[in-house]
C-alpha cells in the first residue's frame, strides 16, 4: 500500500490526471491474442487507487498453458493486473473471467450479485502466486510451508503431501533444507521454496510478481534457472510473469505484453517485441534497459 500511496501523492502533485484516450493496441504479426476457450479474460478492466487510475481499460485473454510476460515501467499497473486475478485487489470496473466464469460476480436465483467468500475461494483454487518478497511463513519449516496448504486446504493425506513436497523441493534444489526455517535461508533459497509452495497447489494459473526484484544480483540466476526448468516442465500450467528480466522473458514466454500508463500498448512474440518495438514508448522503455545493462 505504501508504494501506491506514494504514487497517488506524486500524481496529485504533478496533476497528470487528465482525460485519457485509449491508445490503439499494437499487435505484432502472428500473435495469438484471442482464444476459442480462454483460461483468463479481462474485459475493459479498470482500477483506481483513490484518485489515481492505475489501469484504465485492460482487455486481455490468456490461453491454457500459455507463458505470458508483462513488462512496463514501475507504476504502470502490471502488478495490479495480476494481483486482481489473485483477488488481492478488486477492480473498480470491468469484467474478469476464469474459465468463462465471472470472478467478481456470481449468479444467485437468476440474478447477478457480488461474489461471496465461497465463490472467491472456488475461483482462487485455480490461481496461485509467488510474491516479490517471498512471503514464506516464518514460523514454519521449509517442509511445513510446502505441506500446510495441500493438507489443510486440499485435504491431502499428510504423508502424500510430504512426499510431493520433497519431490518438488528437489526440483527447486532445496531438498537438503527441508527442516530449515525461512530465516536461515538466503533470499534466493527463500524464493525457490516459495515457488515450490505455489506449484504444489497445482494451480491452473501461476502468477509470478517480480520474483527476482528483491534479490541480491548473485541470486537472481539460481531463481531464474529454477523457474525456467519449471516453465519447461509444467506445460499445462499457465504462467503469468511480471518481470524486468528481459532475457529471461525472451527465453520462456509465448507472448509479451507491454503496459504503459494503464493500457496494454503493445503485444507480440518475445523476439518481435524485444527486437522490433513499434511504439515510441516501448522503444524508450527497451533502450533504458540496454543502457542499464551497459553500466
Amino acid at each position: 500500500m505504501e508504494s501506491a500511496d506514494l504514487i497517488i501523492k506524486t500524481a496529485r502533485k504533478s496533476k497528470i490526471q487528465k482525460k485519457d484516450i485509449k491508445p490503439e493496441m499494437i499487435v505484432h504479426e502472428g500473435t495469438l491474442t484471442t482464444f476459442d476457450n480462454p483460461l483468463v479474460k479481462y474485459i475493459n478492466v479498470k482500477k483506481n487507487f483513490g484518485e489515481l487510475q492505475v489501469l484504465k481499460g485492460i482487455d486481455l485473454e490468456v490461453g491454457y498453458g500459455e507463458k505470458l510476460t508483462i513488462i512496463g515501467s514501475s507504476g504502470s499497473g502490471k502488478t495490479t493486473l495480476i494481483r486482481m486475478l489473485m483477488t488481492l485487489e478488486k477492480p473498480s470496473s470491468g469484467i474478469m473471467e476464469i474459465e468463462g466464469e465471472s470472478l467478481w460476480t456470481m449468479k444467485k436465483n437468476g440474478k447477478t450479485v457480488p461474489a461471496d467468500e465461497a465463490h472467491l475461494r472456488k475461483m482462487r483454487s485455480k490461481v496461485g502466486m509467488v510474491f516479490q518478497q517471498y512471503n514464506l511463513f516464518p514460523h514454519m519449516t521449509v517442509l511445513d510451508n510446502c505441506t500446510i496448504a495441500p493438507i489443510k486446504v486440499k485435504g491431502m493425506d499428510p504423508e502424500e503431501a510430504k512426499e510431493q513436497a520433497i519431490q518438488m523441493l528437489k526440483r527447486v534444489k532445496m531438498s537438503d533444507k527441508i527442516n530449515y526455517y525461512p530465516n536461515q535461508l538466503s533470499g534466493g533459497q527463500k524464493q525457490r521454496v516459495a515457488i515450490a509452495r505455489a506449484v504444489l497447489m497445482r494451480p491452473k494459473i501461476l502468477l509470478l510478481d517480480e520474483v527476482t526484484s528483491a534479490l541480491d544480483p548473485e541470486m537472481v540466476g539460481e531463481v531464474l534457472n529454477v523457474l525456467n526448468e519449471i516453465a519447461q516442465e509444467e506445460k499445462e500450467m499457465t504462467m503469468i510473469f511480471v518481470t524486468h528480466e528481459l532475457d529471461f522473458a525472451r527465453e520462456i514466454s509465448d507472448r509479451i505484453i507491454f503496459i504503459n500508463e494503464g493500457y496494454i500498448l503493445e503485444q507480440g512474440k518475445p523476439e518481435s517485441i524485444l527486437n522490433d518495438p513499434k511504439s515510441e514508448r516501448l522503444q524508450a522503455f527497451l533502450s533504458r534497459f540496454k543502457e542499464n545493462r551497459n553500466l
Binding site: M86, K152, V153, Y181, A198
Partner: protein, 219 residues
Amino acid sequence: MIKIDKILNILLRLIDASKVTISLTIVAALLASVIAFISGILLLNRHKIIRFLVRTYVEIFRGTSLLVQLYWIYFVLPFFSVELPKFTAGVVAIALNYGAYSAEIVRAGFLSVPKEQIEAAKALNFTPSQKMRYIIFPQAIRIMLPGLGNQMIELIKGTALVSLIGLEDLTYSGVIMRTNDIADTFIIFILILVIYYAISSIFASGFKLLEKRANVGRA
C-alpha cells in the same frame, strides 16, 4: 531471638493463605485472557459502533483505579441487587481491569502481522478461520507474549487489593497475623514478599517457556 518453629508456623499459615491468592490469580488470569482476546479482536472490527463500545470499556477500566473498581463491584453493585461473593467480586474486578490493559496488547499483536503474510495465506486459498489459526495467530502471539507476561505478573501483585474487601488472601492473613503479635511484623512481611516473588517467578518462567516456543524459527 526469633524461634525457628515460630517462623515455620507463620510460613505455613501464609502458604495456606496463598492458596487463595493463587486460585484467584489463575481464575482471574483465565477470564482476563478471554476478555483481552475478545476485546482485542473487536477493537479491529470494521464496524465503528463495535469499536467504539469496546474502546469505551477499555478506556474506563484502564483509566480508573482497580481498587475503586473492586469497591464498586463489591460495595456499590449490591445497591442494584447484584451481590457477589468476595472471591467472585475479586475475580471479576481483576479480570475486567487486566483484560482492558491486555486488549491493547492483543490488538497490537494482530496488527503486527505483516499484510503480506495474509496475502500469502489468501493465495494458498486458506479459509478465513484457517488463516487465523495457522498463519495470523502463531505470529501474533509471539508479539503479544512478552506484554501479556508482564500483565500476568502485574495481576498477581494486583490480587493483594482483594484483602481490602476482606477476602482472606496472602496479604490479608499477613495483616491479621500482625495484629495478633506486632513483634512479628518484620518476619511476616518478609515472608509475604518472598511468597509473592515465588508465585510471580513460577508464572514468569511459564511465560518464558511459551515465548521460547513461539519464537521457533526466529533469529
